[in-house]
């Protein structure tokens, strides 16, 4: 599904360019859930940004293959239409753009590229109502502008709701647990678990082990200094919880 080979990337331009990713190797199989953990500044969000095509990063060497194709050659919107989804750590507020209108445009863009027919307003609403139940989101949230006036928890739920609507094959969840209280975390995690599917890979980026109590990963990777320092099964997360990231410091 996803193969990252010796990926190096910088942020910033010219002499200000700073290398953040220093040789990432990672392979995620179809239907697998991988957790990427690491301290602040380890490169977690940069990795998510590079995979989704966020502007501001430059890949200096390495490769990313998605379903065997060169992912880095695709524009951000093309990646999304090919089945990649990034749940933002900080979902963007867009005043004046209605949430429903936005989501219908996105869904129809994705459907069109899959060769499926576009949904009219009625069909779209029906699809929306099915998915809303999944995440305990009120319909009123959809009548508002995208993320405007949403609480932190509502924004994160809205991200997972979009994921449910767009049905990606590779979802990257960037610190979806940050800023959530325990009840909101449970709702979001339940939503994600329901979206687990043998054809859908999920990369969970998180600082804390807490999220992994609710969403059980197949693999856990520890990122530090722009590299994968250690990989293992879910027990690695528990070990990190006990010992912290500090003991990895020398390796980073």
């Amino acid at each position: 599904m996803l193969d990252i080979k010796s990926l190096h990337a910088t942020v910033g331009e010219g002499t200000d360019a700073k290398e953040i990713l220093r040789g990432i190797d990672l392979s995620v199989g179809a239907g697998e859930v991988h957790a990427i953990m690491g301290p602040n500044g380890s490169g977690k969000s940069t990795l998510a940004g590079v995979l989704a095509g966020r502007p501001g990063y430059t890949v200096t060497s390495g490769k990313v293959l998605y379903e065997g194709r060169d992912l880095l050659a695709l524009a951000a919107d093309e990646r999304a239409r090919q089945g990649i989804f990034l749940a933002f750590q900080y979902p963007v507020e867009i005043p004046g753009v209605n949430n429903m209108y936005f989501l219908r445009s996105a869904l129809n863009a994705v459907r069109k590229s899959r060769g499926e027919n576009e949904l009219d307003a009625g069909q779209f609403l029906k699809a929306v109502r099915e998915k809303l139940k999944l995440l305990d989101i009120g319909e009123d949230l959809l009548q508002r502008a995208v993320n405007v006036g949403f609480s932190g928890g509502e924004k994160k739920r809205n991200e997972i709701f979009q994921m449910a609507m767009l049905e990606p094959r590779l979802a990257i969840l960037d610190e979806t647990d940050s800023g959530l209280d325990i009840d909101a975390l449970r709702v979001v995690a339940t939503g994600v678990n329901r979206l687990r599917d043998p054809k859908r890979s999920i990369v969970l980026i998180t600082h804390y082990q807490r999220l992994l109590e609710y969403i059980e990963p197949d693999r856990v990777h520890v990122l530090g200094g722009g590299k994968i320092l250690q990989s293992g099964d879910k027990s690695l997360a528990l070990e990190l919880e006990k010992r912290g990231y500090a003991h990895l410091g020398s390796a980073a």
């Binding site: 989704a52 095509g53 919107d77 933002f88 004046g96 869904l107 863009a109 767009l166």
Partner: protein, 438 residues
Amino acid sequence: MSVAVKPETAPYLEAFRTQEGNAAEPDWLLDRRAAALKQFAALGFPTRRDEPWRFTNLALLSRATFPPALASKPEKHRLALEPYLVSQAAHRIVLVNGYVVSALSPIGRLPKGVWLGSTTRAIAERKDLALAGYDERDTTAAQPFASLNGALFSDGFVLALAPGAVLDAPVEIIHVGHAGAQSVHPRSAVIAGPGSKATLIETFYGSGGAWTNSVLRIELGAKASLDHVRIQDELPDAIHFGVTRARLERGARYDGFTLTTGARLSRQDVQVTIEGEGAHCGVNGAYLLRGEQEATTATVIDHAAPGATTREVFKGVIEDRAHGVFLGRIAVRPGADKTDAHQLNRNLLLSPRAAVDTKPELEILADDVKCSHGATVGDLDEAALFYLRSRGIDEAAARRMLIEAFATDAIETAVSVGELRAHLCRRLGIWLEQSGSA
């Protein structure tokens, strides 16, 4: 005393002399025309040394002569009115080249106390209305083109509401320019008695090449209320100047919105004088420019009475090599205490060669006032653009969505009449369809 005559005014003075001969007009009107012409001749064309015209390039106007257009009655199907019609129920007047065409003007049944008709009919039948619509500023103000209009005006409309008269259906005025390289000078008035209420939509469009030079006077009596939309969608080789002069008495409400999408060179002046306590003035709009268009919006809100409010938001979307200018002035005179006035000008520049000059200005000479002003110039929000694209929306559609949101916001906060709001959003959609940067 000999009065200086500026040479560039000569062709228009000549046009006035030849027009005079065939006008069987009353003396009071001829006197006013002559006085206005004298003012125009003395003022001449503005130059960039005149502060209010500093950012405007008038070469297009001064390079050529635009003789006053004559009445023309093209067949209806050639006018393509349909895209500009707002309401089935509207009381409508269509002017071609500044002359009312009765056959195209279904005014319909008017409620008691409402008078609506052409300016020439008002002059012939209702001198009181014609005089009330006249403006002493034709001979005193430094607005040469408004003075020229006072001298050369062809026709226009007059809407008069008796005290307490309420007009539920909107009044739609459609100005069609069909004149080639000629000038069109409509002069109109809205005279709203105390407690009356109306909705007015003015649309300007045409077959191009002409210079439209329009003047509208609005008089709102105590607690009178007017919603006013002005759409300027002339072709990209036209010149368009429009002056709206409004006077508000105690507790009157004026809510205006202007949408500028047309003309190669355009300027609109909105001047509101608040003379009565507790009046409300909404002066809002959007200018959407592309190609080589240059458009100026110049507003002056004069708070001469206490306790009044002004809400002013203008938004600009500028692409290609177009140039937008916003000159906004709010003056609070001595004694106009407790004035509450806010002005904001926001601009989106969508290409490296697009330009905007913005000059918000506050002059406060009263106490205990709440006033603010501000201006922003920027590009589309990169974070928002990426967010939309990360969901599969292609770049062009994402840009279009953000531009639409930016401009729609101006319409939705300022225009309360649903029919007008929908029409403005439709016009915005048509503009976006043709956009090169979205």
